[in-house]
């Protein structure tokens, strides 16, 4: 067994969450630059210019890109030959998040009771943690600081096989159309197809963690991603929803096996900040 002290997990997560909140990813910056060069709306170009300037201020001053510093979502891929030592893994994960949001001057947005009390937990915990046991002795931590404005515009449909690719594209485009200006376009769209009621949304969230310009490995899905992107940008929503030709920067599809009787489709929308990161221990 390979022993890993849980303090390393906490330390890695602290660094990851501060960094992703203050530093825009290079692929996202490139996509915004390209969008600004191609955007046909004058107001749309002004919005994109604001976003590019915002990213440069945040990076220079080490302050968050957005006041919504997100809900901490963490995917742990743990090798089955790893033994965690030094305390509770889950507590260490939350400790990393607590330190990042406290010491990094990030906004704490978690309320403990969702319906009645809605009291802020004060440290942005608990984080949402997904654990996957894999072969080997490594640990891969992928994380996203997911903003709620775009999360609120996401959707799940329990579709039928007969709906076909056309049905899937229509559902994704309609979900983006209904979201309009709310999710802070230009957006990134994660689509999960297959699995069941709880795993299709997980696939959609994982799709948001892929680098932009990384099409699906199966050419049929790659083509579907391009078609969805073209139809979404044809909606005209544009940067900030003021009208324009850039509504989405990318569409990513992830798939999984499903039941003979179903075809769940989940659409997870992310704002232009698209904050995520990954570290291996």
């Amino acid at each position: 067994m390979r022993e890993i002290d849980v303090a390393r997990v906490a330390g890695a997560l602290k660094e990851l969450f501060v960094d992703m909140n203050v530093q825009i990813l290079p692929d996202v910056k490139e996509a915004l630059d390209q969008a600004k060069a191609e955007e046909k709306s004058e107001l749309g170009r002004a919005v994109l210019e604001d976003l590019i300037r915002n990213a440069s201020i945040a990076s220079r001053e080490r302050i968050p890109l957005c006041q919504d510093c997100g809900l901490a979502v963490i995917f742990l891929e743990v090798g089955q030959e790893v033994a965690f030592v030094g305390g509770s893994l889950k507590a260490a994960v939350n400790e990393g998040v607590r330190q990042a949001y406290g010491e990094g001057y990030l906004r704490k947005s978690v309320v403990t009771d969702p319906l009645f009390d809605r009291n802020n937990s004060g440290d942005n915990t608990p984080a949402i943690v997904h654990v996957d046991i894999v072969p080997g002795d490594g640990v891969r931590i992928a994380a996203t600081a997911k903003g709620m404005g775009s999360e609120n515009m996401s959707a799940l449909a329990m579709m039928k096989a007969a709906d076909g690719p056309e049905g899937v594209v229509d559902f994704v485009v309609e979900t983006v159309r209904r979201g309009g200006s709310n999710p802070c376009p230009p957006i990134v769209v994660g689509v999960g197809i297959g699995g069941n009621f709880e795993t299709a949304p997980l696939l959609a969230k994982k799709a948001l963690l892929r680098p932009l310009e990384s099409p699906h490995g199966d050419e049929r899905y790659g083509q579907l991603e391009r078609e969805m992107l073209a139809r979404i940008n044809a909606l005209g929503i544009g940067p900030a929803g003021y009208g324009g030709t850039t509504t989405a920067l990318a569409v990513h599809i992830e798939t999984a096996p499903t039941h003979i009787a179903g075809m769940p489709v989940a659409v997870n929308i992310c704002c232009h900040a698209c904050r995520h990161g990954e570290v291996r221990l």
Binding site: R53, C66, L106, N182, A230, L235, H272
Partner: protein
């Protein structure tokens, strides 16, 4: 770039009715932050007769800032989604509120109330929170401190960059803007 119109707060009715959707604005003066939890309390306070804020002529900014780092007046402070405030908004307009700053779609009731009471809805660029914070000269919690980031803060802003999204004449940039750029994308172009 088109010229930006400089405007100072507070607004009287004729000022509030002078905006046209699509206009770019640089706003200076006092504005107040308020999100969902503060709205719920404000409406209850208005109905109970003890409102901590005189809303007449004022502008609310739907925002909850991140904490201020040392040496900063305020942390990053961009707009939150305005639609969540819709259930409370007409009551606040009745109390004299003249302007709102946020992002995202409003309900038909709110849009028509802009005309009924004389008010305007501005968009601030969603996600440009670090940029917007630079326009804030002072920040002071004036009500509901226990709400943390959702407390009501009095901000003094200078040249705060906004776009008029919905005006008192029924103009709505979120409806009109996309129409000008909507095109028909081909379905399954390569099939």
């Amino acid at each position: 770039m088109t010229d930006r119109r400089k405007v100072e707060t507070p607004f009287d009715e004729s000022r509030a009715r002078s905006f046209r959707c699509g206009e770019r604005i640089l706003l200076s003066g006092v504005i107040y932050t308020a999100r969902d939890a503060a709205h719920k309390r404000l409406v209850a306070a208005l109905d109970g007769g003890e409102c901590p804020l005189d809303l007449a002529g004022q502008i609310l900014y739907y925002a909850g800032p991140a904490p201020a780092a040392p040496g900063h007046v305020i942390g990053p402070v961009g707009p939150t989604t305005s639609g969540r405030m819709d259930p409370y908004t007409v009551r606040l307009l009745q109390a004299g509120l003249r302007g709102m700053i946020g992002k995202g779609i409003r309900s038909p009731q709110v849009l028509s109330a802009l005309g009924d009471y004389g008010a305007v809805y501005f968009g601030a660029t969603g996600g440009a929170a670090a940029l917007l914070a630079r326009c804030v000269r002072s920040c002071e919690v004036v009500a509901y401190e226990d709400l943390g980031p959702e407390a009501i803060r009095r901000l003094v802003v200078v040249d705060f960059p906004l776009v008029v999204v919905a005006d008192s004449r029924g103009g709505d940039l979120y409806a009109e803007g996309p129409l000008a750029f909507r095109t028909e994308a081909k379905r399954h172009p390569e099939v």
